[in-house]
C-alpha cells in the first residue's frame, strides 16, 4: 500500500449538465507505483488529459476517490498538492526569464533565497540549458521551451510529475533525444512520472507500465511486453501495433491450451485464457511478425500469396486462406527467403500456439 504513489478508485468525471453531459472519465481505477514511469496511452478524446487534470487538481472528480501516497487529495487545490505538471503547450510565464520561470515553484514554496537560485540553476543544468537563464521564453526554440517547462516542474520537487504529451511538438530527432533525457531524468530524480502520449512506440519504449484508455475507461494495464504480447481486448491489440483478427470457433480447451477452428475450416492451436469455454465463438489476435511463411507442402495452414509490400528490413505479405480471409505475415528479408514467391502461388502459414491470443471485444 505505502509504495503506491497514486491510487484512483472509481474516478468519474462528467462535463456539462442535462443532455449535454460528456463522461470524460468513467469509473477509472488505477494504482501507480512510486518511481514508476507510467504511461496513459489512447486515442484522442479518450480522457488522458482529464485524468491528469484530476490528479493535478485543475478539475474536481464527479465521483470516486483519489489518493496520493495514501492521503485523500481529491478536494485539495492544486497549490496544496505535491504534484507538478509539464503542460502540452508548456505554459511558460511569458513575462519572466527562463531562470525566474524555473525559480517560480521554489519561490512559492518559500524556500531560502540562496537555495531558490541554486535549485533553479541546478535544474537548468539537468535539462542542459545552462547559459539561457536570462532569455525570455519567446526567445527559445520549441525544444528548449519544452526543457524549461520540464525544469520548472522538477524544481517544485514534486512527488509525482505529470507530463501531457510533452514531446508532441518536437521533430523526430529532438523527440528521440528528449525521450532518452526524460528516462535519464526520471532515473536521476527518483520521481514518479505519469506520462501521456498517443504515440504507441513512445509508450512501448519508455514506460514501466502502460494503461491503454478508450472512451473514458482503462481497458488494460500492463508492462509494454504484456500490452503488446497479451492484449486482452480487440481494441488494445488493434491500437498497439499491427494485428490480424480471425473469427474462430473454440473446439476444445485442455491444460491451458485450446484448439480453434477458423472460418476457413483450418485448425489452429492457441493459449487458453481463463473463462474460455469450448463451443464458444471467439476472436483471435495474431501479430503479423509472429506468423511464419512456409513453402507449400510443409506443415501449416494452406494459403495463397496475394500481395507483397517491401519495407526495407521486412516484407509484409498478404495471403488469403481457403475462404478468402486475408492475413498479413511479416517476414524479415534474409537471403533466399520464401516470401520471394510470386502473387498467386500456394504457400503455407505456420502458426505457433504462443502467438495466438483470444481477445474480448
Amino acid at each position: 500500500m505505502k509504495d503506491w504513489a497514486i491510487e484512483a478508485r472509481g474516478l468519474t468525471k462528467r462535463f456539462g449538465t442535462g443532455a449535454d453531459t460528456v463522461t470524460a472519465l468513467d469509473r477509472v481505477s488505477v494504482t501507480i507505483r512510486e518511481n514508476e514511469f507510467f504511461t496513459l496511452l489512447g486515442p484522442s478524446g479518450c480522457g488522458k488529459t482529464t485524468l491528469l487534470r484530476l490528479i493535478a487538481g485543475f478539475e474536481l472528480p464527479s465521483e470516486g476517490k483519489l489518493l496520493l501516497h495514501g492521503q485523500r487529495i481529491e478536494n485539495l487545490p492544486p497549490f496544496r498538492r505535491p504534484v507538478n505538471t509539464v503542460f502540452q503547450s508548456y505554459a511558460l510565464f511569458p513575462h519572466l526569464s527562463v531562470l525566474r520561470n524555473v525559480a517560480f515553484g521554489p519561490e512559492m514554496q518559500r524556500r531560502p533565497k540562496a537555495e531558490i537560485e541554486a535549485e533553479a540553476r541546478r535544474m537548468l543544468e539537468l535539462v542542459r540549458l545552462e547559459g539561457f537563464e536570462r532569455r525570455l521564453p519567446r526567445e527559445l526554440s520549441g525544444g528548449q521551451q519544452q526543457r524549461v517547462a520540464l525544469a520548472r516542474a522538477l524544481a517544485g520537487r514534486p512527488r509525482v510529475l505529470l507530463l501531457d504529451e510533452p514531446l508532441s511538438a518536437l521533430d523526430l530527432k529532438l523527440r528521440r533525444e528528449m525521450q532518452i533525457e526524460l528516462k535519464r531524468l526520471q532515473h536521476e530524480t527518483g520521481i514518479t512520472f505519469v506520462f501521456v502520449t498517443h504515440d504507441q512506440e513512445e509508450a512501448l519504449t519508455m514506460s514501466d507500465r502502460i494503461a491503454v484508455m478508450s472512451g473514458g475507461r482503462i481497458l488494460q494495464i500492463g508492462t509494454p511486453t504484456e500490452i503488446y504480447e497479451q492484449p486482452t481486448s480487440r481494441f488494445v491489440a488493434d491500437f498497439i501495433g499491427e494485428t490480424n483478427f480471425l473469427d474462430a470457433h473454440c473446439e476444445q480447451v485442455a491444460e491451458g491450451r485450446a484448439q480453434f477452428r477458423l472460418s476457413s475450416g483450418d485448425l489452429v492451436q492457441g493459449l487458453a485464457i481463463p473463462g474460455l469455454m469450448s463451443g464458444s465463438e471467439v476472436t483471435l489476435a495474431v501479430r503479423p511478425e509472429r506468423l511464419d511463411l512456409l513453402a507449400d507442402g510443409q506443415p501449416g495452414i494452406p494459403a495463397t500469396m496475394q500481395d507483397l509490400l517491401y519495407i526495407g528490413n521486412d516484407t509484409v505479405c498478404t495471403v488469403a486462406l481457403a475462404d478468402g480471409t486475408e492475413l498479413q505475415v511479416r517476414v524479415q528479408n534474409r537471403h533466399g527467403a520464401i516470401h520471394a514467391s510470386a502473387p498467386g502461388s500456394a504457400v503455407r502459414v505456420g502458426v505457433e500456439p504462443q502467438a495466438v491470443r483470444v481477445v474480448g471485444d
Binding site: G57, P77, N84, T85, A91, F93, G156
Partner: protein, 264 residues
Amino acid sequence: MTDPAKNPLFRFPGLKPAAWLFFVFLYAPIVVLLALAFNDNEQATIWTGFSTRWFGIVLDNADLIRAFNNSLIVATTATLLATTIATLAALGMNRARFRGQDGVNALISLPLIVPEIVTAVATLLFFIMLGFRLGLGTVILAHTVFCIPFAYLPIRARLEGMDPRLEEAAQDLYANRRQTFLRVVLPQLWPGIISGAMLAFIISLDDFVITYFVAGAGATTLPIYIFGMIRIGISPEVNAVSALMLAISIVFVAASWLVGRVRR
C-alpha cells in the same frame, strides 16, 4: 522578393490623392490652430507677426488655471476609479460562466453607443432626484461611469488573449490565488490596463456635454472654460490654450508609449 508597391495587384488608381486629401483634412485645422497660437494680432484670424505673448496671458489667467486643475483632478480620479472597476469587471466576466453573460457584456459596452446628450440629461435628472449637490463630486461620479466601458474593452481583450493554462501553471507551482493574480495575471494584464487607463483619461479630460450638464458652479473644467471663452470671441488666447492641451496630450501618449516599451 518583389516590391509590393510595384505589384499591380496592390495598386489602386486614385489611392494617393485620396490619402493626401484625408491627411490634409485631418491635420490642416490643427496646424492652422497651432500657427495662430503664435500670432501677435488681437484678431485670431489675421496674421501680423510671431509672438509667444498669448501663452503668457494664458498662464496668468487664474480662472483658466483653476479650470485646468479641475480637469486634472476629475480626469485623474475618474481614471483611477473607472480603471479599477473595469479591471475587476473584466476579471469577473472572464472567470465566471453564467447565463446571460453575453447580455451583461453588451450592457457594459452599451454606453459607448448611447448618444452622449441622452446620458447627460439622464445623469443630471438622476442626480437631482437623489438630491445630490452639483459640483466636482458629481462630475467625477459621472466621468467614472462613462469611462468604465472605455477602460473595460482593452482590459477584456487582453484577458481573452491570455492563456488560461498560465494560471493553472502558477497554481500547480504552489502559488495560491492571490499570488497567482499578483505574479502571473496582473503582469500579463498591465498593457491592457495602461491602455484602458489612457483611454479613460483622455476621454474624461476631453468631455464637454456630460460635464456641462452635471457641473455646478465652481466645477468648471477646461473644455467648459474654453467654450465660455469662444462665446465671447475667438482670441489667440484660445489657440494658445488648445496648443498647450495638444502638447500635454502628446507628452502623455509618448510617455505611456515609452513606459510600455521599457517594460518589454
